[in-house]
Subunit: 353 residues, 2 copies
DNA sequence: GCTTTCATAGAAATCGTTAACTATGACGCC
DNA sequence: GGCGTCATAGTTAACGATTTCTATGAAAGC
């Protein structure tokens, strides 16, 4: 019952070869199964593999033959529900295509994001998926374009997931969802309920692609219905519960005419809800409230939140699918995923005056 | 303005060397900064690096010198809030220690989990963090023990995060949190409020370490207070909202004597809440409800949920810290992280009869 | 002035695998 | 019966870095 030739070390193909009396090449071929090997030899090799508990060295394999079977995804944060769903989709599709997943978080910092893209270039990731809205800042876009080119040159691919394209000259795959359309539909829904004075919470960082799109839909719906939009009704938030709470308190302190609040995200809406309740306002009897994202939280609020549904998981899956099979999807390197209104209980007609 | 020597390919040290008139060795040394190089040479090399937009090949580096700077974490699911927080902690600490993160999801399947551990052995991950409760099944534990040994032999480390140790002979790092203690404290709290008849929802899969611990704490508290525990009060759930809802409906259909429900997780509690509300029961006036995990959802429920707090992020951070610096933490390769009750609004005294 | 030491740089071996060539019997074919 | 094929296996050279080991000129010591 002879075991490892060299004592405590990790066995290599050479060890397996020696132990089964064949050459390293043959071992490699048995394992890869891409070359004729006699049944008897194969059996001997497999036995040695099992006895030595040999596993291949992925680094060495990447160096020699095919690349690293790896996809990277970069998110602002792992805990945000939307990010988590996209991540889930990315991981799913990557696994389905036999790839491993590298994750990194940028915490929304553009510099860190570019740093990570660089790291992924070192890692030779086959695709680098950037998740979540990004800044529209010119120098940032330029640097990202350059990163896209660099990745392209190494045979990798930059994927923009949930943010608009960089420009026609940047080799990148884009998978967006219809922020504007969803916001347009939701705003129209509120208007159809009779609301004429809707506050939008989430106009914070101008240049942030996600909120910009949602705000644009909000505006367009007003235009389409020939309604004025009092711009001071939009209030800065940072997409968390707390800022939704604060923004609502300020809003209530200075103006109580609005009959509905459109929160830029469901999480913001959850903060809004707390502030409204504290102020003694009932939802939807006194004020209607709607969100965006349709994360599980939406159904846990009381009342259940009317919101815009986005299939984040599909977003992630599509991103990876298109990036890895770009020959096949050559024409669809820019995809838009639909969004739609989910009607629940938090929005109703405005109170009669 | 000469650019890349070879056209569309990714540049290597050799290209940089050629372009700056030095040897590959020198380029490596400039980049690593671990060997004296004249200022003038360094400048020339750095210039070439920038001009060629060279980045190192991580695979090649791993093969030659130091290993892969990589940590792997395996979770059931990316979207569960608890998993996401642990992931966040793992990623944070890994980044802080200059490592990259590989993620995989097992969807709770033990076979898949072992498969992934194998994959990580191929990848030469420096640490493999298994997140979330696992099965206590004998053959599974044996196979995991063997995996721990194999990882150990390659200089890697298996980390059990949020589950009990395998056995003293398995080379693994364990970071648990006090499931039993938290459940004990919470149950005691309910008892101190006056409850004598508490239903525990979540006794589903026997052998699942997380729920087993929580149930044990529940039982121990009953014993400590000399209270009988009617075992039919524990009901099988699968840790999601829906199963909490269903289990509660069944519970209500067959027995209405209980005055409090202890849900095994906050997510289950959210489903319980819906069922109670549908049945016209007020929380906490008619029935008290408590959860476990203290995920953000807990504060979004109405009423806000009394629950047990677990610092999941710290759990992840500790896992990585201990695995990567085991010389320094040699004595603490088994850590227990404390849990504590968070009192909010969903539990109160039982209704007077 | 001649050896010793130091700073600097290059050549060559190495890491573990794969892939491109070779090599060798056995078999079938004209 | 010689020769092209085929199945099978081995040799050798990449892959892109790091890491010994060498080598060289200059400064320093006696």
């Amino acid at each position: 019952m002879a075991r490892q030739p060299t004592s405590g070390e990790r066995p290599t193909v050479k060890d397996v070869a020696a132990s089964s009396g064949v050459s390293a090449t043959t071992v490699s071929r048995v394992l890869a199964g891409n070359y004729p090997v006699s049944a008897e030899t194969r059996a001997r090799v497999m036995k040695a593999v099992r006895e030595l508990d040999y596993v291949i060295n992925a680094q060495a394999r990447a160096l020699g033959g095919g690349g690293t079977k790896t996809v990277a995804f970069i998110v602002h944060d792992l805990v945000g529900p939307a990010f988590a769903y996209v991540g889930q989709g990315v991981e799913q599709q990557a696994t389905a295509e036999g790839r491993l997943c590298l994750v990194c978080t940028s915490h929304g910092d553009p510099d860190r994001e570019l740093e990570i893209v660089e790291l992924m270039r070192e890692q030779q990731a086959e695709a680098v998926v950037l998740v979540g809205g990004g800044s529209g800042n010119r120098s940032y876009v330029d640097r990202l374009t350059q990163a896209a080119r660099a990745l392209d040159k190494s045979g990798s691919r930059l994927v923009l997931c949930g943010r608009p394209p960089l420009g026609t000259d940047a080799p990148a795959t884009v998978v967006e969802y219809d922020n504007e359309g969803g916001a347009y539909a939701m705003t129209s829904y509120l208007i159809s309920l009779g609301h004429r004075d809707i506050a939008f919470l989430g106009a914070g960082e101008a240049g942030h692609s996600t909120v910009d799109g949602r705000l644009r839909g909000f505006e367009r719906a007003h235009e389409a219905h020939h309604l004025p939009m009092t711009s001071h009704r939009t209030s800065a938030v940072t997409f968390d519960r707390e800022s939704g709470y604060q923004a609502t308190r300020e809003l209530l302190a200075r103006d109580r005419k609005f009959t509905a609040i459109f929160a830029a995200t469901d999480v913001v809406a959850s903060g809004v809800l707390v502030a409204l309740r504290e102020a003694g306002l009932r939802v939807p009897e006194d004020v209607s409230l709607v969100g965006y994202d349709d994360i599980p939280l939406a159904r846990d609020l009381t009342p259940e939140l009317t919101t815009v549904h986005v299939d984040y998981e599909e977003l992630g899956r599509t991103a990876v699918r298109h990036a890895l099979n770009r020959e096949r999807h050559a024409l669809s390197q820019h995809t838009m995923i639909g969004t739609h209104v989910i009607i629940r209980d938090s929005a109703g007609p405005p109170p009669s005056p």
